[in-house]
Every structure is written in structure tokens, then in C-alpha cells.
Symmetry: C2
Subunit: 310 residues, 2 copies
């Protein structure tokens, strides 16, 4: 079972409109609503691939109730600590190929709620867990090093940890010895202040991260590890919805690390599963047939530049 | 007691953002959420002025539950028929002075639900009602002449009716003998196909409406009645939020007709209360002090052109 911490989950609303005209009134053609946020997306992908998972997080108010109901409907196990206030909603307005997103701030959590989340994660980790994924931003009020405590809990139990975050929470998780830090290129640069992916990854590894995988969008993914540095990409660019591609990659790494896979193989799976997420219409789902089809075609290469850089 | 039919009420979300950039991701700085739609706004204004009111409408799902809770919190009496599906939400994104609105379509109502709404209105009208306001669009699935049946119910009981709508629902209500049709200029033109306000008002009166009041935005209001035609406006243009100004006018007319006021006096109240709605930050509320301050300064004039046009 892979434990996924979704500290700041959301209720995602998607509105389809004909065209977005600022200052105008729009008739919404189609409305979809489902539980989301990066952690929930990771858990959905794990579940879609047949892996057992549990979502540990915080939820409040009517939106929190709708989130729980949606996770129940998707047969996703969860332990969501009730918090005062309303779970944040996101509204994505899709017009033509463009998506415009509005993110509510979400509830401010207090020490008691955060301690209950850590306690829930500890219990799940003690219950036969094979991996931990900490994914997404921390809610307002959570300690900036909140992921670090979770990393230490997992490490104490020799459970591999993937952290997909940015800024102080990511740096603190790296310092606590996260097995894999998995930011995207912008998050990695924002966290380290270094624009070279290789050098920035080295900063996180020197801080204490076992490895760093940087998603580069359509340019694939770079993994900087103690065993070597690899770059992987699909043979062709794929058109689709990139939201959730990074979450699919985090899911692939969690599965790979739980199974003791080598980095090059894990990277292949992560890139194929990311691509399969791009080909699926909504974040948090993957085109499983495309995943299996793309897997052998992913180009994985050990990079010389990285060897020099180590 | 004034009965307000809100056939297609909404849960209104307002998001404040720094600037609206299509295609970008936005941090929402402030979220407000409350029950809305034109009928609910009319009832709120009536209640704010100390008049007894009851909202008759349809509500479904989680958003319907939130709507009920919000009306309860505002001490607004309501009889909302439960319907399958979700009450529509509206999302208004406020950036600087601009508002961009997204309107969900709302649930499709069936004959049974509509009959229950009519039954609820009939009961409320038989319970000492002094006025009926039918305000806003009809939900998908409702009969296009849905307001006409309500107008007849009120007329049978000699209860004055204000209808604020457009298109076939407004025309059918006029034909059924609504005492006052209160569209804005665009709705009046769209309903009659006539751009001259006077001539368009005459079309509705010839159809059967007792009187027609057309709101002209910052240019005030025109009332075409059996007793004469008047134009009224505030002495100065007012800056503020015009959403809900027409609903405040409908409330003023309902109060005036219930009290047997003359048209010129009613128009004065309607214009002052509209202006007081512009000065209040959210739709469905009025600046009561401004209402009383503006009342004597509203300029009301019987129009010669209108006399010729009668």
C-alpha cells in the first residue's frame, strides 16, 4: 500500500465556455466537479493501475464533504482529518484549447489538525505501507517543514518517500533525507535559486535528497541520482492536457521504488505514465493502453554532462 | 407579505483576483458565497426594508442545500421545492473594477416540480399576501408561460403582480394581465423586437400588462401606465455595483403597489432604491441611508412624448 499525503486537497470544478471574454457574462456549457489537488491525482493514478493506496489529508466544510463523497465514489481509501473552514475549490474555465484557473486559498490549519494528519500518516505507514508520496503545496498554517517530519517517519520504517513540492517544504524534505525530490523545472529553480537543472538538482542532493527527478514538460524528465544521471523522453511530442502529468510521474516513481526498480527503468515508467496522463482528458487519470504502448518507445539515455556534474 | 417567486435561484460565488489573465492560473484573494439570483435579491431587499416576504422556488443538491442554509442565516422565509440535480452556481471574478461572470446552467425541472412550485405560490398567495413578484429567468424544463399561471393566481385574489423577466415568459405574463412588467431596456427590446422604449412598452400594454417600467441604467427609469407616462432619474450619476439595481426597483414597485401608491411616487421610490442598490457592495442589498437621502432628490417628470404615444 502506498500512502499519499494530500495536505491541501481541492474540489476541482471545470467549466466549459465558448470563449473567455473578460468583463462579460458567460453561459457555462458543461460543468464537471471532482476531488483533486496533486495528492489526490497521485492516488487516483495509483488506483487506476491497481495499486492499493490511502489518501491522508485535511478536509473541511461543504466542499470537504463533497471531496470525501467523490473519493468514496472513486473507491479511493482516505483518512481526511476534519478541519474548520472550507476545503478550497478550484475553478478551471476551458475555452477552446485554453484553460484559465482560479484557486481558492483554502482553510488555515492549526497545530492540532496538522498533528492529526501526521498521526494519520504514521498509522498508515505502520500498517504495511510500501511507499509514501507527499505531493502539492502545504495549506496555510501548516509548518513550512511539515513534509520533513513525514519523511523522517517513513525513513525510520525504511519506506521510500517521494516529495513533489517546491520552496521551503521541498528543501526541508530533502534535508530530512527524502529518497526522491520530484519538482518540475520551474519549481526546482524557484526552490534552489539555480536555473541549471543539473546544478539545482545537485543542491537538493547535497541538502540530503537521495535523488532528484525534474519534469521538463514536453522535453521529458531528468533524474539525478547516486547511481547516475539519466534523461528520458517520448519519441514524439504529445498533444493533450498536461495538468496531472507530474502527478502520474510521482505515482510511477512510488511504485518503482516500492518494487526496488533501478533508476533508468523507473524513469522510463515515469515518462510513459506522464505521457499517458497528457493523453487522458482530466488530471488524475491516465490512458492505460497508451502507457503500455509508449513504455518500450521511451528514449532513456545516461547523460555525460551529468557525470561531469556529479 | 410579499411572495417572491425565484424559479431559478443560484448560489453566487464571488472571487477577487489581482488581474484576470486568460490562460493563466490565479490566486483567489477573497471568496464570498451567498444565495442569489434575481428573485432572492428582491426578497433580500424587501427584508432589509422590514417587509415580510417568502421566497418560492426550486433547489437541488449540495448547492441547493447551501442556498437554503444561506437564506436561513439571512432570516429569509422560503419554500424551496426539492428537485433532482444541482442548483446552479454562478462564479463572478472581480478584477479591478471589472466583473467576469460564469453562469452554470442549473437543473432541468420536470412538470411535477413545476406544479409543486405553483402549488407553493398558491398557498402563499392564499395566506394574506399583499403582492407577488416573479423575477428572473425560468429554469430549463419549466413551461415558457410559467409566469402566466402565477399571474392568474394572483389576479384571481386581486393581489398585484410585478414580473421582471424577458422573452416569452415576460410576454406570456403580460398577456395574462400582470399589473407591472419591469424589464430593463435590453430585455424589453429583446422581448418585443422594438427598440423605442415607448413603443415597446406599448406592445406589452396592448398584450395585457397593466403598466410597464423600463430600467435604463444610469439614465433612470421610464414608466408607461394607464394613468400616464413618467421618467425618473437621480440628479447625479452614481458609481458602484449595478448588479441588483433592477431587483431593488422590483421590490420598490411591489411595496408601492401593495400600498396603493400612485405611479409617480412609486417610480421615485424605485429609482432611489435602485440607486441605493448601486451604492451597496453586493447584489441583493441596499444602502438604506442613501435610499432615504436620495428619495426627495429623484427627478420625476411626466413625459409629453409619452402622452402622444398613448
Amino acid at each position: 500500500m502506498i500512502v499519499v499525503v494530500a495536505a491541501n486537497p481541492a474540489l476541482d470544478l471545470t467549466y466549459t465556455v465558448d470563449a473567455l471574454r473578460p468583463g462579460a457574462s458567460h453561459r457555462v456549457r458543461a460543468v464537471t466537479q471532482r476531488g483533486g489537488g496533486k495528492g489526490v491525482n497521485v492516488a487516483r493514478v495509483l488506483s487506476q493501475l491497481g495499486h492499493s493506496t490511502v489518501v491522508i489529508g485535511l478536509a473541511g466544510g461543504v466542499a470537504g464533504h463533497q471531496l470525501r463523497a467523490d473519493l468514496d465514489a472513486a473507491h479511493l481509501r482516505h483518512r481526511l482529518v476534519p478541519v474548520p473552514g472550507e476545503t478550497r475549490r478550484t475553478v478551471t474555465v476551458v475555452a477552446g484549447g485554453d484553460a484559465t484557473v482560479f484557486n481558492e486559498p483554502g482553510p488555515v490549519v492549526d497545530e492540532v489538525a496538522w498533528a492529526a494528519l501526521v498521526e494519520g500518516a504514521a498509522r498508515a505507514l505502520g500498517d504495511g505501507a510500501t511507499g509514501l508520496v507527499c505531493s502539492g503545496s502545504l495549506p496555510p498554517g501548516a509548518p513550512a517543514d511539515g513534509y520533513a517530519a513525514l519523511v523522517r517517519l517513513a525513513r525510520d520504517r525504511r519506506i521510500p518517500v517521494v516529495v513533489d513540492a517546491e520552496g521551503v517544504p521541498l528543501l526541508a524534505a530533502a534535508t530530512a533525507g527524502a529518497d526522491l525530490a520530484k519538482p518540475n523545472a520551474a519549481e526546482l529553480a524557484a526552490t534552489t535559486g539555480v536555473t541549471s537543472h543539473l546544478q539545482a538538482a545537485r543542491v537538493l542532493r547535497e541538502a540530503g535528497a537521495g535523488a532528484v527527478a525534474v519534469s521538463l514538460g514536453a522535453d521529458g524528465m531528468l533524474a539525478v541520482t547516486g547511481q547516475g544521471t539519466w534523461h528520458a523522453c517520448t519519441p514524439h511530442r504529445l498533444a493533450g492536457n498536461p495538468t496531472g502529468a507530474g502527478d502520474a510521474a510521482a505515482a510511477a516513481f512510488a511504485v518503482g521504488m516500492a518494487g526496488g526498480q533501478a533508476w533508468a527503468g523507473m524513469l522510463r515508467h515515469a515518462v510513459a505514465l506522464s505521457a499517458a496522463a497528457v493523453l487522458a482528458p482530466v488530471a488524475g487519470s491516465v490512458d492505460v493502453a497508451a502507457y503500455h504502448r509508449l513504455l518500450p518507445d521511451v528514449h532513456v539515455e545516461e547523460t555525460d554532462a551529468a557525470r561531469l556534474d556529479r
